[in-house]
Subunit: 216 residues, 2 copies
DNA sequence: CGAACGAGTCAACAGGGTGTCGAGTTACGG
DNA sequence: CCGTAACTCGACACCCTGTTGACTCGTTCG
């Protein structure tokens, strides 16, 4: 889903097995985008900025990418792949001590996004204006929700966690919290939790939500 | 903060006590914005759309509002006032039964935004592109966080809730969850909790996070 | 009454962004 | 050395925002 449809121009290139000097340009554009995102939001970066940054003209930019958003999407694909790999590794090591397992998952999640601060913030921004970005987000979110819901159900099945709301709903609520808290903590505007406290606080909420029974 | 600075044009008008036929136009613009937001996102609505909808030309629009975003801000001020009033009422009735108190607060929160679906979705959208909208959000968010943090501390002080993370951090995390879950539930794209299940699920997480101790 | 003033109105302009088209220029494989 | 595909960009068509300056019209006051 990430190449053919998203980068029609790239499909035309590269037929010839010989070296295509265009690959360098493509990388340059991506690098420029990542660099500029460190200093200003996506909305304040024009196609012209990206083109100039890569040493080409604006029309030439369109030879490589169909739009500014496509560049972001390409960048995001990388982060998503990285995040999925990390999360997969964490979840595969079967959860023996629950606290340990959830803690590692949260820390991995946080670490991945903290390592791509600018991109994460741009992601949140573009999600509200671009349907493809929104779709990518929904896809990733859904994957995490399913993983979490499965884990919650497993804990309930083995009697470690009490019954409660539908595991999927609980997973959605908690994952939403993660996303928003981490995103706010990285973006820096508005009230947010200090970076070092993010994981402990989230962990606390997760553990109580999954394992503890509310008083009544 | 909501009139003079945000609507400089309005400051000039209305000095004369006589009838200003411009007030009708202003209302018409606001009504048009609210109507159009029901059918498409703010980004897909141009100043021209608003002007035509109100039966005036584009330059005339600028006589009433300095920008498209200013219209949204005016609309949001209303919702914020309404939400604050509702929340104030809920919190004022002193919390006797904790479960009841939190439940009513959550339900009020949810109800307010559900009653302004289009506006709430537009708010989330504009927050990522407009600094003033972001500031308004931060202000409202901060107010709720403080209220919640105070309530949590009160519960801890009277021994009803166990110690845990800083009350403020807990309040930020839980309020973030509310916001994101409700917003996703209203916007309709991506995985979300069904409208009727939103309050019960959120309530469950709040209660466990505030009152229960995690296992260890 | 009629000048003066301020509210209200808009055609026309300036400026900046996006995306496309067609006419190039290069560089390799035959 | 020629064809072909990769690559490049000037110029264009559009859309959107925000501003300017002139114009209408009702009200007020001398």
């Amino acid at each position: 889903m990430s190449d053919g449809a998203r980068l029609p121009a790239a499909a035309g290139r590269g037929r010839r097995p010989a070296r295509a000097r265009g690959d360098d340009r493509e990388m340059l554009i991506l690098a420029t985008a990542e660099r500029l995102l460190e200093e200003r939001p996506l909305g304040a970066i024009s196609v012209d900025d990206l083109a100039r940054g890569a040493g080409i003209s604006r029309p030439t930019f369109y030879f490589y990418f169909p739009s500014k958003d496509a560049v972001l999407l390409t960048l995001l694909d990388r982060v998503v792949a990285e995040a999925d790999a990390t999360m997969g590794a964490v979840f595969d090591g079967s959860v023996k001590a629950p606290r340990e397992g959830w803690q590692r998952a949260l820390a991995a999640y946080h670490e991945t996004f903290r390592g791509h601060r600018a991109l994460t913030v741009a992601w949140a921004e573009a999600r509200s204006t671009n349907a493809e970005v929104r779709a990518l987000w929904a896809e990733v979110f859904e994957r995490w929700v399913q993983r979490c819901a499965t884990a919650i159900e497993a804990e309930r099945a083995r009697g470690a966690a009490p019954p409660g709301p539908a595991a999927r709903d609980l997973a959605i609520a908690l994952t939403s919290m993660n996303e928003r808290v981490i995103s706010a903590s990285l973006s820096g505007d508005g009230p947010a939790i200090a970076a070092d406290d993010v994981v402990p606080v989230l962990l606390r909420v997760w553990l109580t939500a999954v394992y503890a029974t509310p008083p009544d």
